[in-house]
Amino acid sequence: MATTAHLNFAALARISDVGLRARIMVHSYFAGMHPSPRYGRNAEFASYAAYRPGDDLRDIDWRAWARSDEYFIKRYDADCTLSSYLVLDTSGSMCHAGEHTIKMCMSVTVCAALALLMLRQHDAFGLLTFADDIVGDVPPRAHERQFTRVLAALANAPTGGVSHFAPLGPALEQRLKRKSLIVLISDLTGDCAEIGELFERVRFYGHELLCLRPLAVEEVQFPYHGRVILVDAETGERQMVQAREVRAAYQENLRAHGEQLLRCAARHAVDLETFTARDVSIKPLAAYLVKRKMAP
């Protein structure tokens, strides 16, 4: 079971100042901060359009009428709210025993921080947990109690199993009827082809996919010495190795897997960010959000 005992809500609240804005056009009937294909009452000028009866007289550009003796109305961009899904990987690799439990704690922290952020932005947000299959679902909502539901779902999310990304695509397709923001929090230790298929499917339906990939320090550095028996946290498979001999190969394999994921993400316009988790701080997430906000 994941835990939320380590969450520092004061620290989580500070991240709301950064904000998270979708990069795709989203549809919503409520005013928000995300771009919408519709025209609305935003301050940002969008275009002129010929006046048609029924249009609001307040939109007529009288200067244009004076120049051209025709009626034009000014149209502005509309901002709306966003519907998003926080998709959390609860497989064994994310929360195996030992020092790597920090990886799951950080993932929960990121989930909670994003949920709070979306709550502040009046966006609808939900939580989907998966491992072998979908193990938990909190449909997106945009009211205050949703945050409590998400936290409860995080705290009660069962952990373990092998992460399978194949059932994730249909599940999201079934649950999201409009373009949404999907935040996938997983170490992506699965098959790259399967992950690429997920990326392709999600992007096909017009959703924006944001992948946050937490990795433990030990997982990256492989700081073991002597003869060790390695136990797979997902499958329980054991392998006795000489740490010094396999360290270089292990790190090379991990780096190659990361590069393959990056290529796959770039191909499908998926934003992939890898965190090296040393503690449960939200600083890496905040840094990422700032970077995303500053990006063109």
């Binding site: 690799s93 994310m94 990886k103 433990a216 997982e219 190795v241 292990y250």
Partner: protein
Amino acid sequence: MIGWLFPAFLGGLAALAVPVILHLIKRRPTVVVVPSLRFVPRGFRAYQRRLRLHEYLLLALRLLLLAALVAAFAHPFVRTRMAGTAWQADATVFLLDVSLSMQARGPDGAAVWPAVMQDLRARVQALPAGHAWRVVAYADGVCATLQATDQWQRVLHEWETRFPTYGGTDYNAAWRAARDLLADQPGNSHVVWYTDLQKNALAAMAAHHVPSTCHVEIVPCTPGAVNQRIAFVDAARITDLGATTRVACVVGGAVKAADLQVYVDDVRVPTRVEPCAPGMAGTHTLTLPALRSGAHVVRAMLRADDAYAVDNQDSMLVYAAPAWHVLLVSSTPVTDTLKAKTLYLGTAMQQLVPGSEWHVTRATIKPEQLATQNLRDTRVIVLVDVARVPDAAVRVLDDFVRAGGSLLVFCGEHTDIAWHNAALAQRGLLPAQLTYATARARAGNYTCIGIEQWNTNHPALRWCTGTAADDLRAVPFYRVMRTIMATNADVIATFDNDDAYLASARLGRGTVALLTCTADRAWTAFPRSRLYLPFVRELVRWLAQEPDMADAVRTERIAVRNASDEQTRPGITLRSIVPLAAIKNAPDARECAGEQGLSSAAQAKLGVRDDNFVVSTTARREGKNDCIESWLIAAVFLLAALEGLYANAVSYV
């Protein structure tokens, strides 16, 4: 066949269990949970097999390392020639020690040299016809050589009278001569070495390489009484003595006096030792300068660069005793020494030769000066023809004698007989009452009086055997004091008129003695005799109750464990001319059994025991055995390096 010199070290093989236990218990791999094995290289089974192989190889390396270390400590050697196996040689060299110490005699008076020559003749005669043999006589160097000729018996007979000669023993020169003689000799060779095993002989021999085709047989020729080793008295015993300390080194054996160096507190002191007697069996005493009170370290060695310093230190006895003082009391003026009554007496007690064994200091005072404060370190007070002494001085004398001092009274023409009888004899300070002086001999003729008999067992007169050289009967006395002996008196020497010349008695813890004649030439010509000096010195030494130097020499017996007369060890056969049973019962059997050539310190250094001494010496001499030891040590280093490299390579830290 492999033998072990120190098999007790093989118990160290139990240490082999340590790496086994470590590999079984301490070397379990650490279990680590990782997110996924996807990134770990494949080949699980091959990997595990290789790791197991590494583990076993490392375990074997460590076991080999420990085993080689233990084996090196246990000193393996190859038993090429077992006990009792006859050595078939094509050539024989007899090395004959003809140094001065070979003319020593055993405790029963039997000389060693004739026995050596007889044994040599018997062995030469026993050689088969055509056998190449040589005899090399050596001392400081090679003195003579004899080869197989028809005249060899005549030459050996000549050698028996010509040798031993003056000279030391150089084992290296002897061995070099044997090696040169055997250099061109094909086949096996045999070296028979006659020696008295002085100067740590076997250790010196151990420095040489003996080829595997050569068999060395050592024939120790030392009876028990020769070159006796005297138990070493720790120099730390020289402590808490009087104001001045006399230190004497008793040197035993064939020590050359000119080479002796004595250090007191690491400062070399001048010493002088009389050369050794031809018998080489005596002890030699030298006296060091008086030392201040306190602890001193005295070392004695033959030379500063003496290779056998340890052995020679052990063959010396450092003997220490407090110095003492003789107080001469005389009424005659002491400033004019020629007129003094103490002229001859003082001269006799003077140290004539610097550094000699006589160490007694003396002083002359008047009777009025007799006081307790003047008696420090004084053991003997001599009244030399004193008329009388004050009453206070009599009390001082009484206390002095009863406390352990000695009083010697010389009579003379100034002696107040009445006062002596009343003041001294009544108190027991005289062993007899004086009556009158007479010049008449037994026959009634007024001829010279002579000493007729004396107690030759008395410590003061033991030196005087009565032979022509030291016959007290030839000493003329012109006048003597007649006496009436006390009941407890002991008459030591008497004149031919039945009067006592020397008498003594015990008083308290001390001794009083009376000489009924003068100390100078007034009544006798004794002071001009050459016997006067030893007489006075031994008398004073006895009165001072000085312990006999010989009594301080402590000797210990060595247990000879082997019951047979012939000991055979691989490489060296040790055969005694003197039966070991006789050696065992000898008064001092230290040098006889062969191993006595080594001091206890050297024995400890070489790890020698009574029953394996020759074995250990032999193993060091065997070239191939040296190779075994060297190879083992090299293997230890090689295995240690391999183990370190391999453990580092496979990360078995």
